[in-house]
Amino acid sequence: MTPKVLSLTLLSASLAAAGLSAASTALADESHLPDEPIRFVTPYPAGGSHSLHAGIITAVGEEFLGRPLISVIRGGGGGAVAAAEVAGSTPDGSMLLFGDPTINSLRPQVEDLPYAMEDFVPVARINYSAAIFVTTPDQPFQTIGELVEYAADNPDDLVYSSDNRNGWTYTVFEMLKSTADVEMRGVELGGGGPAVTQLLGGNTMAYAGDASVVGEHLEAGTLTGLCVTDIERSDAYPEIPTCQEEGYDVVFQFWRGVMAPAGTPDEVIAELSDGFERMTQSEGFLRLISQIGSGIQFQGHEEFAESLAAEQAALREAYLGE
């Protein structure tokens, strides 16, 4: 409301990060990064949660990485186009992919894509969210157990909203179907918005999605939460059990993380990982991230590599194992 606020906004976003840890001026001297801006590639079209996160990261990143970050928004093929482009770029840290499990763990294993899972090395995990299974209050099932029972009694009768083939929602439902050994029909609607619309309109019976999509409907009571695909209950919805608690081993953490093309030197990966770590600890970054209703569950490159390998193995087993 004040002129100060307005002028602040008109300046570069990096101003917001000013006054934060004036970290590592030494960094520039002994940097292994090439002397050019880093292209930070978002593999989905503008407007999703990925591009919101990327907008914040590229706005404040320069201070912590010692190089300006350029946000490149490159949607298409459910992320495959951007992934293929980054995989084929010079592996020196000048081009990074803002990856996620479907791009980096699942689809390269089950689809014939122009890049392989091994084309990427993990740099840093920024955060993750878990999917919440939901239904409407007028459905005959109100817990995940009842849903599975209903599906077992009426095979192929239960229609649920899905996003894309091998997308997030698609995957968690496949996991549920395989662990509970039931048959349900998913309608691929292309995204969270239409998926929730069809559920609310009574055209489908269940859905699983991010808290940012279903959260408000849970609070308003227009949707009922069944279970969360995490290892522990979420702070925002403590009354919704985890799927494991309910007896269905469905755990899927949809992480957002930075990936570099394979062949990037180790010291560059380490330097980038450190830079992102300092960024996720800075007050200004945290404030911005909390403003878009998100949080930080940071993992450095070594820890992230372990959890990623575990996830890739688990998905390989779930999809191709039997």
């Binding site: 801006p37 292209r39 350029i70 946000s71 490149v72």
Partner: protein
Amino acid sequence: MTDNFLTLSHRTTRIFETLMGLGTLSVGLVFLRTVHATPPPYGDPGDIGSAAFFPGLVALLVSAIGLVLTLMAWRPASPAAMASGRTARALVAYALMVAVALGLPWLGIWLTAMLAVPLMALLFDERRWPVLLALAVIPPTLVIHLFEGVMGIYFPRGVLL
């Protein structure tokens, strides 16, 4: 607005109509062949729910219309004549457009823009060199700064510069 243009001869028009018909037909056939290749790549073209049904149907339709167009070009009543014009010049301009599209990743945005704008003006019969020089400098500077500064779009710099 086409009233006062010179027209092509009926024979040439007929050749063009035939070629367009055959072109449409061949596009339809390429898609149709892909859909019906063995093994069927996108599912069963006969099943409405599969990924092959809709492309298969449209490809069939396009092939049929291509055939109709080809035949129509040879019906006894001569087709409405097409307008003629400075086609050669347009083709030169199109070659320039293709060259610009292909060359931008290597030449970079600045060099491409500063060459393409005055060259296009030359094709529009602009011969005054101060104007051409101004066109080479002012529009690229304005436009590139607008896109890069305001919208944060980063164009390729090219390998030469």
